[in-house]
C-alpha cells in the first residue's frame, strides 16, 4: 500500500535535491552515495531547530494510549501503524546516533542502525500517516505524531524520496498558482461554466472578478473546489452567497490555491507556496482575506502563515461589510474562515433562507482533522447547517469534534494506486457514518474540507454506497433565497427538491444542470 515515487520533473520544478525518477517497488532506489550522512545531518539540524522534535524523541514512555486511536492502525491492524511505533521507527535511529545509551547498548536500548531496510520502512510508514493529530489528543504529553511524520518526510525529501501525488501538485502550485495546474484562462472558463449552471438554476447571472485591484476582499479556496464534483457545488455556493451580499471581492489566478501540499513535503516548501497569498493581497491592495472550506489549509493559515510570511500589516483587521462584525480572532493574520463569516451573517439575519429546500437531505457533519485539532472550529459549521437544514444528526461520541477521524486520504494520499490504504484508513469515519445512516436514515455527509469532499466520496462509495458528500456552502446555497431568483426546481446538483407543492406549475422542460449527480450522490 503506497503511492508512486516523486518524478524528477516535479522535484526539479521547485529545486528539490536528488531529483530522479525512481520506483518504490524496485530494489534500487537510486539513492545518492552519502544518503546516510545526508539523513543524519538533516536530523541533527532539525533536532536543534524544533523543540517539538527533540522533546517528542525523548519523552515517550510507550504507554500505548495512542495505539488504537489511529485510523490506519484500526483499519490495517498493522502494529507499525500504532502512532507510538511509527514514531519509534525514527526514535530508534535517534537513539543510535544521538544518545549515549543507544551508542553504548545498541539494540538493547532500542537503537537501530540506519540501513537501507530501515530507510525504506521509514518511507513506507511516513506515508501511512495523514498527520491528522488524533493521537496527540490522547497522549498524556501531547506528543504529536504529525510533527514526527513532518520531519521524517522532510528528511526523505532531502533524498528525493517523496510521492508523486504530493509532488505533482506542489510543482503545479508553484508554477501555475494551484495544485491542479489550472492555468488562468482555464480557471476563468471553469467559473463561466459554474456561473452558467447557477443561471440555469436561479435565473441569476453572476460575473465574478479575477485579479481585480482595489477589491475589499481577496477570496482564497482550495482549487479542488473548482475542479471536480462535489466541490464545485460548494464553490457555486460561495459565488451565489457573495453575489447575493454584493460583496466587493476578487478571486486570484496567482494565489488560486488555499491548500498547501508543500506542507506535506517540507516547511520551507510550504512557506514558498503560502507566500503567494499575502503577496497577492498586497499587490491587489485588498483590505483583508477570506478563506474557503478546507482542512490543512486552515492548519497552515492558523498556525504557520503569519509566522512564515507575516506580519500582514498592509491589511486591515477583517470586518464583515454586511454586519459590521470585526473578526477579532483574526486580528493578526487578517484572514477569516468563511464559516465564521457565514455564521455571523446568519446570526444577524442577513440571509433569507428556506431550509425546506434541504428537506430531501438528512445531514450529518464530519469534523475535519485540521480545523478541529489545529484550530477548534466546531460550533460555527453546526450553527450554519442547522440554520439551512431541518434534519441534522450527530455521529456518535468519540468520532466527532476533537476526536474526529480522518477521511483516510489526508496529507496528499488521495492517489488511485493507494486505494486500499485509503479505504482501510477511511473505515472508522465511514463506520460512524453508517451508524447514523442505519439509525436516522442520514443520506448526506457535510464537511468543510476540499480533500474530504474528494476522499469521502470514494470512501462512502465503498463503505456506505448511496451516501452523499457535500460542503456546507452547498447546503447554504440550496437554502439561500436570492433576490430576483426564479423558483428553484432542483437543488444545486439538479436533483428535484422534496418540497411541499405550493405552485403546481410543473415545468417539465426546466432543464436541470446536466446530470452531475452521477456516482454515489444521494438522490432521495
Amino acid at each position: 500500500m503506497f503511492c508512486w515515487g516523486a518524478k524528477a520533473k516535479s522535484l526539479n520544478a521547485v529545486g528539490f535535491p536528488n531529483a530522479r525518477d525512481w520506483n518504490p517497488t524496485e530494489e534500487d532506489w537510486k539513492l545518492p552515495e552519502n544518503w546516510q550522512e545526508i539523513f543524519l545531518e538533516g536530523m541533527r539540524e532539525r533536532l536543534s531547530k524544533y523543540r517539538s522534535f527533540r522533546l517528542f524523541m525523548d519523552i515517550c514512555v510507550r504507554c500505548g494510549a495512542c495505539a488504537d486511536k489511529c485510523h490506519f492502525f484500526i483499519g490495517t491492524g498493522d502494529p507499525k501503524n500504532m502512532p507510538v511505533l511509527r514514531a519509534e521507527l525514527l526514535r530508534s535511529v535517534y537513539r543510535r546516533y544521538f544518545t549515549k545509551a543507544g551508542k553504548m547498548f545498541g539494540k538493547l536500548a532500542g537503537a537501530r542502525d540506519l540501513d537501507l531496510k530501515v530507510l525504506k520502512e521509514l518511507w513506507y510508514y511516513a506515508f501511512q500517516c495523514t498527520e491528522c493529530r488524533r493521537c496527540s489528543v490522547f497522549c498524556p504529553y501531547g506528543i504529536d505524531t504529525a510533527e514526527i511524520t513532518i520531519i521524517v518526510r522532510e528528511l526523505l525529501n532531502l533524498l528525493g524520496l517523496n510521492i508523486q501525488w504530493t509532488m505533482g501538485p506542489v510543482a503545479d502550485c508553484y508554477m501555475k498558482g494551484n495544485h491542479l495546474g489550472i492555468e488562468p484562462h482555464t480557471m476563468v472558463n471553469i467559473f463561466e461554466t459554474m456561473c452558467d449552471d447557477i443561471e440555469t438554476l436561479t435565473g441569476i447571472k453572476i460575473t465574478p472578478s479575477f485579479n481585480r485591484k482595489g477589491a475589499e476582499i481577496l477570496f482564497v479556496t482550495p482549487s479542488g473546489d473548482f475542479f471536480a464534483d462535489p466541490g464545485t457545488y460548494t464553490c457555486m455556493g460561495y459565488l451565489m452567497l457573495f453575489h447575493e451580499l454584493g460583496l466587493d471581492y476578487t478571486w486570484s489566478t496567482y494565489a488560486a490555491e488555499g491548500g498547501n501540499f508543500g506542507f506535506f513535503t517540507s516547511n520551507e516548501m510550504a512557506k514558498r507556496l503560502n507566500s503567494k497569498i499575502y503577496a497577492e493581497a498586497k499587490r491587489l491592495g485588498v483590505k483583508w482575506i477570506l478563506g474557503g472550506e478546507c482542512g490543512h489549509m486552515w492548519r497552515v493559515m492558523n498556525q504557520y502563515m503569519d509566522t512564515w510570511n507575516g506580519p500582514a500589516d498592509f491589511l486591515e483587521v477583517p470586518k464583515s461589510p454586511v454586519t459590521g462584525t470585526v473578526f477579532e480572532n483574526a486580528r493578526s493574520t487578517r484572514m477569516t474562515h468563511i464559516i465564521e463569516f457565514t455564521a455571523d451573517l446568519i446570526r444577524h439575519g442577513k440571509l433569507k433562507l428556506d431550509p425546506r429546500r434541504n428537506d430531501h437531505l438528512k445531514v450529518t457533519f464530519h469534523d475535519s482533522c485540521n480545523t478541529s485539532r489545529a484550530m477548534g472550529i466546531f460550533e460555527e459549521p453546526r450553527y450554519v447547517i442547522k440554520s439551512v437544514c431541518n434534519h441534522f444528526y450527530e455521529m456518535p461520541d468519540g468520532t466527532t469534534r476533537e476526536q474526529t477521524f480522518c477521511c483516510g486520504s489526508g496529507s496528499g494520499f488521495n492517489a488511485g494506486e493507494n486505494m486500499e490504504l485509503r479505504l482501510r484508513g477511511g473505515l472508522p469515519r465511514a463506520n460512524a457514518v453508517k451508524y447514523v445512516r442505519d439509525k436516522y436514515d442520514v443520506n448526506m455527509l457535510a464537511n468543510i474540507c476540499a480533500i474530504d469532499r474528494a476522499a469521502l466520496t470514494t470512501s462512502m462509495n465503498y463503505w456506505n454506497p448511496g451516501m452523499g458528500v457535500t460542503g456546507v456552502h452547498e447546503l447554504v446555497a440550496n437554502a439561500l433565497i436570492m433576490t430576483g431568483e426564479k423558483k428553484r426546481e432542483t437543488n444545486m446538483r439538479g436533483d428535484p427538491l422534496d418540497m411541499p407543492v405550493e405552485e403546481p406549475e410543473a415545468e417539465a422542460g426546466a432543464a436541470a444542470p446536466a446530470d452531475k449527480a452521477a456516482g454515489g450522490k444521494a438522490n432521495v
Binding site: T307, W308, M375, G376
Partner: protein, 330 residues
C-alpha cells in the same frame, strides 16, 4: 528478553549491594559516595536536559486544540481545552500535570463483526498512572521526616492522613499499598496487553522493576523486618548535614533500599522518566491557540525562493489577456 534482562539487572543491583556491604564492608561506598553521586547526577542531568530542551526554539505555534476556538462573541469558547490566553494555558497544564487530563480521555476501540467499531471508556491506565504518580509523590514527601530534624507540619499531616486507616503496627500507609498495586498493574499490562507488549522496550521494564524493588524493600523494612528507625534517621541526617558517618545497626536491607533509590535518581535524567520535565515544555499543550490574533515569531525564519507574481504573469500574460484577466504589463 526485553523484560528479562532488566529483571536480571535489578536482581544484580540487589546482589551487588548485599555482597558489597556484607562481604566487602563497603559501607562508605554504598552509604555515602553512591547516594551523593546519584543526587548530583540527578540534579546536573535534569538541569542539562531541561536546558537543552529549553534552548531549542519553538519555531511554530502548534497547540493541539481540544475544544471550541475563540470566535464570534455569541459562540462559547472552550477556554481550557482550547485556550486563547495564558490563564487558560496554565489551567490546561495544571489539569494535565496533576490530573492527567489527556489520559482521562482514553477510549478503547474495538472492532466487531460487520465490521462495526465501538469506542468504550477505558480509564484503567489513567487510574493506575495517576495512583502511581500521586502515591509516589506522597511517599517522597513522607520520607522528608528522615531528612529534617524538626519534621515540618505538612509532612506530619501527610503521614497521619496516609495512615488514617489505623491498621497494624507500625501503621499501614495506604500509599504503600497503592504504589505497589499500581506499579504491578503497569507491569502486568505491559506483558498482558499484546499491542503494549509489542511496543515495550527494556527501558520500559527497567524502571518498573526498579520501582517494585524499591517499594518492596521499603515495605519489608517498615512492616516486616522493622528496621531501627532511630539509627536510620541518624544516618540520613548525617548525609543531610554533609557530615556523613556510618551508623551501625541500620541493616543490609536499608543499604539495598538506598542503593536502588540512588540508581533511580542517577538513571532518571537519561531515560524516559524525564517525561516529568518534558510535559511542561510540550508545544502542543503549553501554547495558547491565539496565532491568528498574535504573531508567533520563528527565531530562525529565513527568506525563501518564491515564484513571484511577475514571473507568473510573464508565463501566462497572453492567456490572461485572452481571458480578460487584468495584467500589470501589457
Amino acid at each position: 528478553m526485553k523484560a528479562f534482562l532488566p529483571f536480571l539487572a535489578v536482581i544484580f543491583l540487589v546482589l551487588l549491594v548485599i555482597v558489597g556491604v556484607k562481604a566487602a564492608s563497603l559501607y562508605f561506598l554504598f552509604g555515602v559516595i553512591v547516594p551523593y553521586a546519584a543526587l548530583l547526577t540527578f540534579l546536573a542531568g535534569v538541569v542539562y536536559r531541561a536546558v537543552k530542551w529549553g534552548r531549542t526554539p519553538v519555531p511554530f505555534h502548534i497547540p493541539t486544540t481540544c475544544g471550541q476556538q475563540k470566535t464570534l462573541p455569541w459562540i462559547k469558547q472552550s477556554k481550557i481545552e482550547n485556550p486563547s490566553t495564558t490563564g487558560g494555558v496554565v489551567v490546561r497544564m495544571l489539569l494535565e500535570v496533576f490530573l492527567f487530563r489527556s489520559l482521562f480521555r482514553n477510549l478503547k476501540t474495538e472492532m466487531h463483526e460487520g465490521p462495526k467499531l465501538t469506542y468504550g471508556s477505558d480509564k484503567w491506565l489513567w487510574l493506575a498512572g495517576l495512583s502511581f504518580h500521586w502515591s509516589f509523590l506522597i511517599i517522597l514527601v513522607r520520607h522528608l521526616r528522615f531528612f529534617t530534624q524538626n519534621v515540618p507540619g505538612v509532612v506530619q499531616i501527610v503521614g497521619s492522613l496516609d495512615s488514617f486507616l489505623q491498621i497494624g503496627l507500625p501503621l499501614l500507609y495506604i500509599t504503600d499499598v497503592i504504589f505497589l498495586a499500581a506499579v504491578a498493574y503497569l507491569f502486568i499490562r505491559r506483558v498482558a496487553i499484546q499491542p503494549v507488549k509489542y511496543i515495550s522496550l527494556a527501558a520500559d521494564y527497567f524502571p518498573l522493576f526498579l520501582l517494585l524493588a524499591i517499594g518492596c524493600s521499603g515495605v519489608l523494612m517498615r512492616y516486616f523486618l522493622k528496621v531501627d528507625v532511630v539509627s536510620v534517621k541518624m544516618f540520613t541526617m548525617s548525609l543531610v548535614s554533609l557530615r556523613p558517618r556510618i551508623v551501625p545497626g541500620v541493616g543490609t536491607l536499608f543499604y539495598v533500599h538506598l542503593f536502588l533509590v540512588s540508581t533511580l535518581f542517577a538513571y532518571f535524567p537519561w531515560s524516559k522518566l524525564m517525561h516529568m520535565g518534558g510535559v511542561f515544555l510540550s508545544p502542543t499543550r503549553n501554547l495558547a491557540n491565539n496565532s491568528r490574533m498574535k504573531r508567533h515569531v520563528n527565531p530562525w525564519n529565513y527568506p525563501v525562493k518564491v515564484h513571484t507574481y511577475e514571473e507568473y504573469e510573464d508565463d501566462f500574460r497572453a492567456k490572461m489577456k485572452m481571458a480578460g484577466v487584468p495584467v500589470e504589463k501589457e
